[in-house]
Subunit: 267 residues, 6 copies
């Protein structure tokens, strides 16, 4: 077993294309260790951004994909049995607090509201994490910061953060990048030409207008990169777009027709 | 205990009859390790296809039949007790990521939405699997690929993949093969004559028109092979069809009459 | 602990009175190891039939009474703690697959739909059972066959087999035997005279007409045998019928009157 | 730990006052080891009856008070940890089947429908108990018999025995005894005079008419014995009746008035 | 670990002011070991009464605060792991039954209906406690008695004792004491003057009239003692009353006004 | 493992600005060890107040963030496995009771109603904590006090304290401080000028009027300190306010406009 904090360092500079002043604002928030909430739709680059910031700040990053079954123990730690009895195993939140990592809870709204309560004492002036089962009180390392992501489109009456959780965070809004920036990203990541990535972004823009009119979400930047990757491998554009932009996200014949039409307009 | 990745190699070439360009498209997707989603009705050959592709690509295949009780630990791994304390046991997803297998989650829509969240870090640019309980971060083997199957007919408000999961996959649509190809398959697999398998497919085509009009699903290729197998053992066609095409799928007298009529038309 | 497959052999020929060609059809299905589904009402002889077939085929029979709390581990196996650490204990399904038994899941519709998913890889061309917790893939013994029972009267929106499960089975319909055969069975099993068993069957026939008109199920052959057994011990017929055919199945005064009247007609 | 079957023998003859031919009918049922269902309201003597029969037949009696949280393991057994690893501990049902006791499941309708499925193989011709976790098949001892109690007044859509369970039992109906017999019982058990017990039974008869008109159940024989016991200790009759017949079962002022009036009529 | 029954002896005579003949009635009930149910609103002295009776009778008292998560094992006992394997640990009910304590289940209506079933064999003529997991049958010590408390105001369709449980108990009704007695209690317990405690009781009487008209419960004797305690420490009466009689029990502005008005009338 | 009570001492005097006589009232309550309930909205300073009081009284403070998954064992303690068998580990409530700390249950309304029952015997005259699983009865240390926080805005039919719990506490109401005091706090904590903090408080006052008209809660003092902190790091006021006062708490365009307008009015 290895809690070595080193494995959580981002070794290579992640490709991140800033769209506004988000890098500077995050740096200001980190300088006062303000807990941060990154808001925005699926696949628009929140995870990449936090990786980039961890690399830029030179801090380890511990990412936890939240889900409904996650218990407080999954975050905080638990006792394991050992040859000589029980041994305490820090959870990702305890490791981050103890050794000074950025702890990133991805899709935090998926976690049970009450599980998220365990982050409260780490996100106010106390900056402590009580390990109640172990009878220990971790005082957070000076480098520790809490970051969560949040997709406003998912929020519902059943699944939303509690107000007392939200108030503990500063927030940055994210969205899909502007046309030119997104085309630049798609070309860089998939290896297609500037012209092809320009067309792909145009398809995405049409599809995003369908959000709420039959599509739960628009086409993400990540999906455009998938389409480009297949084209770069020689798959014909229309087939590549169908495999990556149409078939994965809808089975409704009308929506498929609408998306196919968008594809055919640009290829 | 044996995690030997060798046992997951497909030793013999599976019989698979291509119906379109699905083999080439899958190869292109695999070449960029794009996570794949195979869509289509029960028993149309999705599982056989992924076995064939694993064999063709020469990669081990780890199949997991998803169900509602499956926890993240069932996929990722858990600690087991040992003579000298606890020992970590990789789950199928961790084995596949560590040693470079194709990991196939069959009927993924049966799994709890939030259990599927554990595959997220393996299906974006990071290609990592955090073993949070062990404090280890597996970087996926270069050969690793994620594949899921998905039956659109099952999807409901309660059970559907999250949009943020769907967007991580390229998709291939599957359906029952064309008449001639399906007859070829049935004859090959069951040992009946071309004429008999032709009749069996004709029965299936009639029954598939009843889907949504009293039948939840049509008659699958697999069921035709069952019928043929019994005939090849000397069971009379009408009796064999009743045992395999009619009685298993409906108890409704009207539907049974309709299916019996279809059988009697061709035998 | 004893997984000795021998204990599952049927030592003595069970009494089974064939009602049609079910024995021959089952033999044909077993010859191609087709998974079988036995359909019919409670107490009509499905369990006895599968015992008879296991005896006739000379194969061990492992029966599992399904229930809602049954987990996949109950079928597949689990780790047990031992002096030297954990030890794997095969569940009944794993024992059957490994050593070549007929595995009979009784009242399968009681099991959670998703628990039944574990039988899928054993009921298609693969015939394997992945022990995911152990990292082992059992290839089924050539003698292994899967059999399930299914009471169509129980099926509801909440509890029914999934279509993708049903399609994996050939099916045989069962029902109460014809008058003469049922009387022969009751006389043989309870020790009453042919005349008495004839009367008992007549009572049952009347009661079966009440099914759906106040009775959930009719009177089964098993109940007639109970009544006969008490008579053979000297209990007067009317009292014996009340104890075994009336009082156990209804507390509704009108239904009790109707059933008592049927008893009084024949005794 | 002690599974010694001897501790379950009824050492002293229990006081039981027969009300009809129930003793003879039970003996006939036991002679063919027919599973028995004792039906009737709370506190009318079902438990005392089965204790009496166990004493009369000279068989050990293992009683299990059923409840919703009872798992199959609570009935069948489980593995316990020991100095030398795990050790199997038979549950009450396994002890009874192995060593030939009468196993009495009290208030069986409280158990989850599906937990009761574990008694099925013990209550048909097979008379076996599969210990699936241990891989053992117990063949029931020749003396073993299954008995359950069942209060028809409790049965509801949510909580009722399955038809396939009911059909496995012969049934005896119980009710409060006739006036004279009940007075005899109350006098014998509480130590009050025949005159006093006669009055107590008269109060009970009035109260039982209120069942369904504001009272869930009538006043049971057991409650009358409580009232008598306090009087025998010198508590005045009206106070004793209020403590034992009125205050425990209702807080409704009107019902309390009605019950108090019944008490005041006879004391 | 210490099951020493001595620690459950009440060392000092508890202050208890009898309001009627409850002491004598309880003594009569204990003399026949009748299980007792103490009924009444929150904070009216039920717990103090049972402590007083345990002291007067010279018997140990084991109190269990019931809650919905309490399992049968919490009451009965469980196996613990030890250097030499598992060791049985009696739960509070088993300790009380084995060594002859009064076992007091406080707020029993909070426990799951079906958990309370475990007390049934201890509360009828059998007076036994089966430790099913251990295969032991405890015969209750002659001094053992079962006592439960029950707040009729809480009872609802979802949470009420089963009729078959209620019938096993004699019952004593409790309520707030009369004005003079309550004033005497408040003065004794809080240290305020007779005049002050008289005023506090007058406030409570006004508030109790609001029960059911915006207040779930009235002001309890315990709350008056709290108010008096603060006054005895120099807090001004109006502030002390607000802190202890008003702010804890309601946030409704109208109810607060009504309660404040009552306070201002008397101080 | 370390239960050392010393780690729970508040080492440095926390900054707390009294708004009324709450310090004196708390001291009076502590002098009689009255359990206390701190009521008020999120982020108004309840937690800081209890830290301040613990420091002033020189007592250790053990804080538990309550949540729905918290079991009684999480509060009371549990057995852990050790080289020589099981070892008891006190939970935070047991540590506090044993060694005389103030035990603060934060957001107690999040805990399951029935889990809170375990604090009952510590909050009445008994002042004991039964460790039922260990068979031990802790008599609370003379310094022990119970404190809970409670946000009236959260209370609902599903989640509210039971009346029998509320009655065990004295209560202090908290709210946002008056304009001048709040400005003083914001300036002190964030490092901005008096003028800037005055403007921030004005924004908050406007936003608090929106509570119940589209906002679940108003802007808290803590959020104003966040805004000030960013400004002190050079972020422009409007951007800092958007990050900390607007984006975290609402995604509704109209509410965002309203809040932006408030920001623009003062900066």
């Amino acid at each position: 077993m290895n809690n070595d904090i080193e494995q959580y360092m981002i070794k290579e500079k992640p490709y991140y294309r800033a769209v506004s002043d988000e890098i500077e604002l995050y740096e200001a928030a980190y300088s006062v260790r303000m807990p941060m909430m990154l808001k925005g739709p699926t696949g628009c680059g929140k995870t990449r951004f936090v990786e980039y910031m961890a690399w830029k700040l030179g801090k380890p990053l511990i990412t936890v994909a939240c889900n409904e079954d996650m218990t407080a123990s999954d975050l905080v730690g638990r006792f394991l049995l050992d040859a000589s009895g029980t041994r305490w195993q820090d959870g990702p939140l305890a490791v981050a607090a103890r050794y000074g990592a950025i702890c990133y809870l991805d899709e935090v709204v998926e976690a049970r509201q009450d599980t998220t309560v365990v982050i409260h004492p780490l996100t106010d002036a106390r900056r402590v994490l009580p390990l109640e089962k172990r009878g220990e009180l971790i005082e957070a390392h000076p480098d520790f910061q809490m970051v969560i992501s949040y997709n406003p489109g998912y929020q519902s009456l059943m699944k939303d953060l509690k107000q007392s959780t939200k108030q503990r965070f500063g927030a940055l809004d994210f969205n899909y990048p502007s046309h030119d920036i997104e085309a630049e990203i798609v070309a860089h990541e998939s290896g297609v030409s500037a012209d092809t990535s320009d067309r792909l972004v145009s398809i995405a823009e049409r599809a995003r207008n369908l959000k709420g009119h039959g599509l739960d979400e628009g086409i993400s930047t990540r999906m455009l990169i998938y389409a480009g990757s297949l084209m770069a491998r020689g798959v014909t554009p229309v087939v590549a777009c169908r495999m990556t932009l149409v078939q994965p996200i809808t089975d409704d014949p009308d929506m498929r027709d609408a998306l196919d039409a968008a594809v055919n307009t640009f290829f």
